[in-house]
Structure formats: C-alpha cells, structure tokens
Symmetry: C2
Amino acid sequence: MAEFSIIEEFCHGIGPDHAETKLGIGDDAAIIAVPAGMELAISADTMVSGVHFFADVNPAKLAHKILAVNLSDMAAMGAEPKWATLVLTIPEFDTDWLGAFSDSLKLNATRFKLQIIGGDTTQGPLNLSITIMGLLPQGQALCRSGAMRGDDVYVSHNVGDAALGLAVLRGEARLDGVFRDSVVSALEAPEPRLTLGQSLLGVASACLDISDGLIGDLGHICQQSRVSIDIDAGLIPLSDAYLQYLANGGNLDLALSGGDDYELAFTASSNRRDEIARIAEQLGISLTRVGSVVTKRQEAVSVSLEGVEYQLPTSFEHFS
Amino acid sequence: MAEFSIIEEFCHGIGPDHAETKLGIGDDAAIIAVPAGMELAISADTMVSGVHFFADVNPAKLAHKILAVNLSDMAAMGAEPKWATLVLTIPEFDTDWLGAFSDSLKLNATRFKLQIIGGDTTQGPLNLSITIMGLLPQGQALCRSGAMRGDDVYVSHNVGDAALGLAVLRGEARLDGVFRDSVVSALEAPEPRLTLGQSLLGVASACLDISDGLIGDLGHICQQSRVSIDIDAGLIPLSDAYLQYLANGGNLDLALSGGDDYELAFTASSNRRDEIARIAEQLGISLTRVGSVVTKRQEAVSVSLEGVEYQLPTSFEHFS
C-alpha cells in the first residue's frame, strides 16, 4: 500500500471538523483560522520504541498515550486543544496494528475534540510524533516564567504512580491487584488536565505539566522565573497504591523524581487560596499545596522531610 | 547530556524571532498570534534513514533538505513560511554531528526566515520530522481542488534532475563533471519555490509541489478537482544534464515519474498566460506549459509523446 493511501485511510476524519478549519488533511498543507482575540499554542512531542515504551506496546494504548502526552502540554499552558499533525514511522504496514492504533486515536481525538489535520507515514523503526495546537485568549498563557517570591506551589491529584507503574512492569517493585492495575494505568493512560489548565488562566502565576518528575520540572520554573522553591515532601499527594508501596518499604523518590505523571504543578499568589479551593471542588480534583516560592542564591528546588533536607537520587531512570 | 539541554543547545535561537511570536522555545508550548485577515497553513513531513536518505548522510545536507522539503509545502499553498517545530531522533548524542546539523539548520532557517519554536530530541534510529506553519491571506490558499476544464498545466524550472541524481549516486546512471554535480545537488538541496507560490495567489487555479513525481502528483489534482489532465511529454522542461542523459540512451521516465524535484506544478486559466509569462520573467524562473485540463470518464493523467500514448513504468522506486 502506498504511503499516500495509508495516510488517507488511517488519518482521515480523525476528530471533529472544527469551524476554524478551512482545509483539512489531503492537500500540501491544512489551513486554519485563529479567531480574533485568540492566540495559538503549539507544542511537539515524540515517542520512540525502547525509550518511551516497550517494543511490543499495544497500539491502542500507544495512540492514547501519545495524545495524552501532547494534550498535557496544552493543559499546562491553559490552552484548548484543537488540531494536531501526526507523524508515524512503522516497521511494517501491518493493517491490524494500524487499525487498532487508528481506532484508539479516533476514539481519543473525538473525546478530546482534537482534529488531525496533517501527517506523514513512513516505514522504519517505530517512532511517533505529534505537533499539537490549541487556542488561548490573547496574552493569558500559563508560562513557566511568572512565579513570584511568596507564591504557593501546588500539585494536582497525586504524583509517583506512573513511575511506580513502570517499576512494577519492570519487576522492580511489587503491588497486587487493584493497586497494580491503577499504577500501570497511570503510566499507560495519563489524564491530561485540560479543564484544570483552562481554569487556572488568570489564577496561576506559573504552570507546567510533570513529565520528567516533580522536582526536576519545578526546577524549570525556578530557572525561568529566577526564583527558588522549597518543597515539603511530607505534603506530596500520594495514591493509596503509593501508600501501600511505602508500607512495603518503598520511599518517596518515585513521587519526587519519577516522570510521566502529567499532573500539573503550578504556583499562585497566597491570596488565591480560596479561589483555588473552589476550582478543586468544582472540578473534583485535589489541588495540594506542597511548598512555596522563595528567593535564595541558587535558583533551584530544595526538598525537606520533617524539617530535614531530603536527598534525591542524582539520576533517575524513567521513560521520558 | 540530558534531553532538555540538547534541545536548548541545538534548537534555541534558530531563525528570526518574528513579531507574531509571543513565546518561543523553552516552555510547554510556544505561542503565536496570527494577524487579522491572515490564515495559518500547516504541514508535516518526516525523513527516515534508509528511506529518504542514506544512513551516512552529511548532517548539514540533511538539515538543508528537511527544511527545503517542508518549505516546499508552504510554497505549494502560496504561504509565507514563519514557524516550525523540529522532532529529531538520533542514534547517539554526537556533538560534532549535532553541531553540523544545527549550523546548517540555523543558516537555512535564517535564509528562509523560518523560526524554530518547538521541538523534541530523543535517542533512537535516525528520524526527523518538521511541522511547518506559514501565513496566507484569508481564503487565498492554492489548493489541489480548483483545476477547471480548459486550464493550462504548468511546471516550474525543470523536472527529473533529483531522480537522475539518485540514479547517479546508486550507479544506475552515469554523468560526468558539472552535470553529475548539478543533479546530485538537485537531489540534496532542492530549492523551495516560495516566491513563485506567493506570486501565483489569485492566478493559479490549483497547485502542488512535485515530491512523488510529476505524473503521480498531477494525479492528486485530477482526483481532488475531479478532472483529467493530458500531458505532452515532449514539452516537459529538462536540464542540460538530463538532455545529456537522454543523449546517452536514457528516457523520460525519471522526468515524468521520478520524485524529489520540489518544483511546482499548477493549473491556470488560459487567459492568465500573459500574467504567468510576466511572473516567470520577474522571478527569473521558467514556467513551462506542458498540458491541459480536460474532462474524461477516468479522472487521471494521460501522457503522450509525438501523438502516441507514453507508457510509464507502473511502479518507480525513489526516495519518497
């Protein structure tokens, strides 16, 4: 089957046809109109076999995850995802594999109202990348550079489950039954916090999604906002599965430094506490205050547990 | 070296910082503003080792080519290229290779006024993809669907040199000296016809760039415009190098079906001939009338040479 017909067959009609889409897939380029008063947020993410997923990955789960990871970047900016281009390199034109991939892509793109407007399919070692685009009210984007001294630091839902899921799959940690399922699901099917991101517009001073680990990612806010952050490890929100892992002798490293959670970490002025509590309640998602923005000589994150400095592993292996 | 610092080091500050760029590389997403009255054209293209280039490819030439291929899609729509995201998977973090790649990317991005606003770098089998974005006056895009019965069919510059260059590199064809150099250069460093595409806004009825071969690509215009096209192979514009290849016993197959030329093929009403001649003269590029749009039962391209049907090879291997 020729490249062209593969794209036509597997990428055509994925997601809703937005009113702002003037020309969809099938020409030399797609054409979109950005409404007055809005800006376009754009982000690209790739996933490579053996680096971001196991080689025998389930194609349906892979399609879900690559979408979720990219949608999460839109969530982190407070943008409403609208369009994406998909570039897919696959070892062989296996119609079963492609069918399962495409069905899952279609299902999730529809769920998240994301239209695939371009792409390319080639034969080669498995490699996927998506460039995602979303709309934002002009000048409102949640950047990494806006954190101010005195701001609170928040984390959505809980962290560490995805890294724990990977440890379980690798046989490096043990959890049983429902706990095992829930951490594997956190790894394979993260939930992009889109509504939360959009609710934080005008509320958060800085925001990002946790892809490389809470502490590492907060370090980006420190660098770009030129501030320091103090984190109290005792406040980090943990799942019941993670608490079980702790009870079995685990520690907080995965929650602090493990990647792939795709929760949002954000800073906000302390006079926004009531508003943030209301957002949490409305969305039914916990937003936990885990530290504060300070100024120190070194623009970095410090972690303490019960008043004592918590030493993080210097390097931490995870699917990035 | 961590992924993050690789991107920072090699993709930061590539190309001009456009006034419409509200936030560049380094956050969860870039932010752009599309000016009033303009639309955004978006296209994605990938290149994979062994499929689109030889594994020992020169990184500087590779950077040039991936940009040229993507810029060519903007040319085909008549859009002015502005932004791109770059996703790069490389087998090892070889700073010499990356330095050469990045220098060439920077040089060419600057030349074509293209700003890299996002990206991702991962370790794995060599694979590159770019999603490119450009601006277009509202409703003016050169689509594949506008060709009308009676329109002329044009080709810019000449075709077949890139495929001939590949044949020469593979030892399947022989050319000496300057001719060899010029066809290899046509393959490695195609010239995106950006000014031509923009000049054709409001003039051409349909347009695309020739990536898969003249006849195959014109077939897309037939399908999307629901027309047929008659091509006179004797009118196809050929380079001196190609004429030498013909003199040595070659035929027209590479010119008709070879890919990778990235010239523009377009249709236009016959009452636009003077205007098109003026554009050719102003830009110093030949625009050759090679056939016409007709209506037949089968929406496809027919090729004749000296009044006799020209049989094309049914399948033609090329870097696609």
